[in-house]
């Protein structure tokens, strides 16, 4: 069962955050017209698979979910932010760089699961 979810709206986002339970939540803000956003997709699938029991990836199309884009002050796509137990963590990656995203995942999994 896939741990990558496409978010429809704010309500859906809150629901998915709640559903994640103890799992680390990686939020991917993207746009369909943005090449860099697409370039990370294959790596994100690999990452989702690698940490399948421990993380959830929520994908938000910034053209479809403008309130969420505005709420989190997203200025570049892709932008990745992180949540655990419904709380926003301090990490942010505002570029197509799956290595940096994975570094944060490793860092948070090491601390949140202690």
């Amino acid at each position: 069962m896939s741990n990558i979810f496409h978010i429809e709206d704010e309500k859906d986002f809150q629901q998915q955050l709640a559903n994640a339970g103890e799992k680390l939540v990686v939020v991917d803000f993207f746009a369909m017209w943005c090449g860099p956003c697409q370039s990370v997709n294959p790596k994100l699938e690999i990452i989702a698979e690698k940490y399948s029991e421990k993380i959830v990836i929520l994908k938000i199309d910034t053209d479809k979910c403008r309130p969420l884009k505005l709420k989190y002050g997203i200025r570049y796509v892709p932008t990745f932010i992180f949540f655990w137990n419904g709380e926003r963590l301090d990490g942010i990656v505002d570029e197509a760089n799956s290595r940096k995203v994975e570094n944060y995942i490793e860092k948070y999994l090491a601390t949140t699961h202690n």
Partner: protein, 158 residues
């Protein structure tokens, strides 16, 4: 079509500079020269904020003094639009803005991508180093090099 790769010859395809009347054959342009060719999905697309056309303009003299004879920017747009985009960034004399309106070149190198929000078939984002018509290096839509697109919509009419 198979995606072009290092050691392949650059295909003989016409691109267009400034207008549909001004044909530039890319294989002829590359003959006997060292060329950096980069492609973008669309002229005037918002961003990419951290790199691409502006950064090639900045690096132009550095590239030319390290032996690059021409820097070429390709996109699937009509030649007027592509040239106008170049003019906005003052590319004259620095970067050759060569349009690929029917995606003939992009298809020949198999580096196209379907982008419905932009109108359909476009070029992928990539950069190539070509020496005497032979591809030396190809970097396609690199992940991990810090590309991003700005959401700031400066052209929005209030």
């Amino acid at each position: 079509m198979v995606q072009i790769k290092a050691r392949d010859k650059i295909p003989s395809v016409d691109l267009f500079e400034d207008s549909p009347a001004n044909k530039i054959n890319i294989a002829d342009l590359c003959a006997g020269k060292k060329v950096v060719l980069f492609a973008v999905p669309g002229a005037f697309t918002p961003g990419c904020s951290k790199t691409h056309l502006p950064s090639y303009i900045q690096k132009e003299s550095e590239l030319k003094s390290s032996g690059i004879n021409e820097i070429v920017c390709v996109s699937v747009n009509d030649p007027f639009v592509h040239a106008a985009w170049g003019n906005q960034f003052n590319t004259k004399g620095k970067i050759r803005m060569l349009a690929d309106p029917n995606a003939n070149f992009s298809k020949a190198v198999d580096l196209t991508i379907d982008l419905p929000p932009l109108g359909g078939l476009r070029s992928k984002r990539y950069s190539m180093v070509i020496e005497n018509g032979i591809v030396k290096e190809l970097n396609v839509e690199p992940d991990g090099t810090g590309l991003s697109c700005s959401l700031a919509d400066k052209l929005k009419l209030k």
